[in-house]
């Protein structure tokens, strides 16, 4: 499992309690509990979500699976023009993931090797600073850098500001993406698509976090190899993710820029 036992039990408990798979009404809580539950999902408040990508355990199979699941459950289309591609989580080689940090005599195991990249949900995100409408912002409860596609005007200032290339723009209508590249689109009927003209990116599975579930990429990766991705609360020194970072050497992408990325790479 990508996190420790205590956290798992807490999450499982709330999942059962709230079990809101989007179905219609049902009575589930006593009056006092209802009021408590109507606040933000308790397990989210006060967290500083982060992720550790363990490159000693990661491989192409896991990365491909994780990308496939994320893009499927969020209805991310494959567009016709590769220059206008949309991706929430993707692969990039070592040299291009850490430009400026690599050298020509890099260890063979990393030379040209693919890393797994996604939005870093930075502590000090420049994308949120530049957004003119707060269509993207850093959630106070748990640090997730969120997107509000209702409000986005498509100015793409956030895309210019992100030093990690984590954001994609819907240059066209995602539902008009080629059918042969997107059979049976949209694949997930419980999640919306986007409209043309808005920016999108990894949302740390906020819709899953709200139900007490961990991000889909972490869940999928751990099904194949436990510990490939670790997710948890960076503010809790006893969390699994903090433990893993304490015990192994890890690096961040472009730390010198001061954005405070919360995705760490164990190498």
């Amino acid at each position: 499992m990508g996190m420790d036992r205590r956290e798992f039990l807490r999450i499982a408990g709330y999942s059962a309690l709230l079990g809101l798979g989007g179905k219609a009404a049902f009575e589930l809580l006593a009056p006092g509990q209802i009021d408590a539950a109507v606040e933000s999902v308790p397990l989210t408040v006060g967290k500083k979500w982060g992720m550790a990508v363990d490159m000693t355990k990661m491989d192409e199979q896991i990365m491909d699976k994780v990308i496939e699941v994320c893009h499927r459950i969020h209805n991310v289309p494959k567009v016709a023009n590769p220059k206008q591609e949309i991706k929430w989580i993707w692969k990039e080689t070592y040299e291009h993931t850490f430009p400026g940090q690599h050298h020509e005599y890099a260890a063979e195991k990393y030379h040209g090797r693919n890393f797994l990249l996604l939005c870093n949900h930075c502590t000090n995100p420049p994308c949120c600073r530049v957004c003119p409408t707060a269509a993207t912002w850093k959630r106070e409860e748990d640090g997730v850098v969120m997107m509000d596609q209702h409000r986005c005007i498509g100015c793409r200032f956030c895309m210019a500001a992100c030093p990690f290339g984590a954001r994609s723009f819907n240059y066209g209508d995602p539902r008009k993406a080629p059918a042969d590249l997107n059979p049976n689109f949209p694949p997930d009927m419980t999640y919306p698509t986007r409209v043309r003209g808005v920016v999108e990116k990894c949302n740390l599975c906020a819709e899953r976090l709200a139900k007490g579930q961990i991000p889909a990429c972490v869940e999928e990766a751990n099904k194949i190899k436990e510990g490939a991705l670790t997710f948890g609360d960076l503010a809790d020194p006893e969390s699994q993710v903090r433990t893993v970072l304490r015990e192994h050497y890890s690096i961040q992408r472009k730390p010198e820029l001061g954005t405070g990325p919360n995705v760490y790479y164990i190498i």
Binding site: I153, A160, S168, F169, L257
Partner: protein, 386 residues
């Protein structure tokens, strides 16, 4: 005074109709873009700003340059410029309108643009850009219209206009500084992450705008009975010269920092622009052409005999406009995005619909400019007794 705009020669109407045709083609292509999305442009995930934002950046500079006529007259009492402050202000109106239009056509969801006002974000430079551009437009409309009306009636303009005029002077500097801030605060874009960006923007604005104004003054003299004045044009030419010297100097400063430090992150964008990277070099001939035009401009404008002779003065100004337009309207934005944050090179070139929409917006600006200058010159002719 608007009635001055509906009476004109065949040339005047022919020019307006030509502009309306270009606007029409641009509008048609914009409707196509509105329904299909920005995928019809050459922009992509890596180069996410292109021709539209580059034109906006260039035109904010042209708009700001109105201050180069207003400042000497109101602050330094340079009486000669009193004749042509209105031309600077009217050019600013046309330029700011084009800026706003270029920003609007670049949006993915243009109908949501009002969100920028409904949900103000003081941390966002775009918010401040909206504030300063709107303010500058209102200032120039109020000042220009009232000063010209008063001139027509032979009286002094109303007293409340005076503080607005003095406000417009720092405001003009602010619009281009804020636009530079759009670029110079982005941590991942090392081509733009330099304090001198605002200074470069201002120097480039103060040579390209007055150069454009000078060319338009010649056209005004050619097509109307209003003569902006020999002394006025000479002084404008001097302003263009000093600003162009600063502009080129600042660029050379940037080159020094990049290439003396030998830091790849600094050098690579210049390498992309001036010698190409990984086989991508479509901008290279353009950038070198800009360099040639810049040198030509400096030679013609620094040398007093060519600066004073009107035909070489015009060629010098045209060279300034071409060089600065290529530098800001092509090199700056594309060069900033290439290579991308992964040090990969993705090509960008505008598509045909993108160019047609761009031309449509330029034509709109020139339409407004023509109408306003027609009004201004007709009023001045009337006052002079023609």
């Amino acid at each position: 005074m608007l009635e001055k705009a509906i009476r004109g020669s065949q040339t005047y109407w022919g020019w307006l109709i030509f502009l309306l045709l270009v606007i029409g083609v641009g509008a048609g292509n914009f409707i196509y873009q509105f329904f299909e999305g920005l995928k019809i442009t050459g922009m992509g995930r890596d180069v996410s700003w292109g021709l539209y934002i580059a034109q906006f950046t260039y035109l904010v500079g042209v708009a700001a340059s109105g201050v180069m006529v207003v400042l000497p007259y109101y602050i330094h009492n340079y009486k000669a410029f009193g004749r042509i402050t209105i031309l600077g202000e009217f050019m600013a109106i046309a330029a700011v309108t084009m800026c706003i239009l270029f920003l609007w056509v670049d949006l993915g969801q243009p109908m949501r643009v009002i969100n920028v006002m409904l949900y103000p974000q003081p941390n966002s430079i775009i918010f401040w850009d909206m504030v300063v551009l709107t303010g500058y437009l209102i200032l120039n409309v109020l000042i220009g219209w009232n000063v010209l009306s008063a001139e027509r009636k032979g009286i002094h303009y109303p007293k409340w206009v005076t503080p607005l005029i003095y406000l417009s002077i720092p405001w003009a500097f602010s619009i281009h500084t804020v636009t530079a801030f759009l670029y110079q605060g982005l941590p991942g874009r090392h081509f733009w992450l330099t304090a001198i960006m605002a200074a470069r923007f201002l120097s480039s604005a103060f040579c390209s705008g007055p150069a454009l104004l000078l060319i338009i003054c010649f056209l005004v003299r050619r097509f109307t009975r209003f003569d902006p004045g020999k002394e006025q044009m000479r002084t404008l030419a001097s302003i263009v010269t000093y600003a162009m010297i600063l502009n080129v100097f600042f660029f050379l400063l940037e080159l020094f920092t990049a290439f003396y430090s030998q830091i790849p992150g600094h050098m690579v964008h210049f390498q992309f622009l001036f010698s190409g990277l990984e086989g991508h070099g479509r901008l290279v001939p353009w950038m070198w052409a800009a360099a040639v035009f810049a040198v030509l401009a400096l030679i013609l404008l620094i040398n007093p005999s060519t600066r004073r002779k009107e035909d070489t003065m015009i060629v010098g100004c045209a060279a300034v406009v071409i060089a600065t337009w290529i530098d800001k309207g092509m090199g700056l934005v594309i060069g900033g995005f290439t290579p991308n944050v992964f040090e990969r090179v993705t090509d960008y070139w505008p598509t045909v619909p993108e160019v047609l929409i761009t031309l449509g917006v330029w034509a709109t600006g020139f339409f407004i400019l023509t109408v306003l200058f027609k009004i201004a010159s007709s009023v001045k002719e009337e006052v002079a007794g023609y």
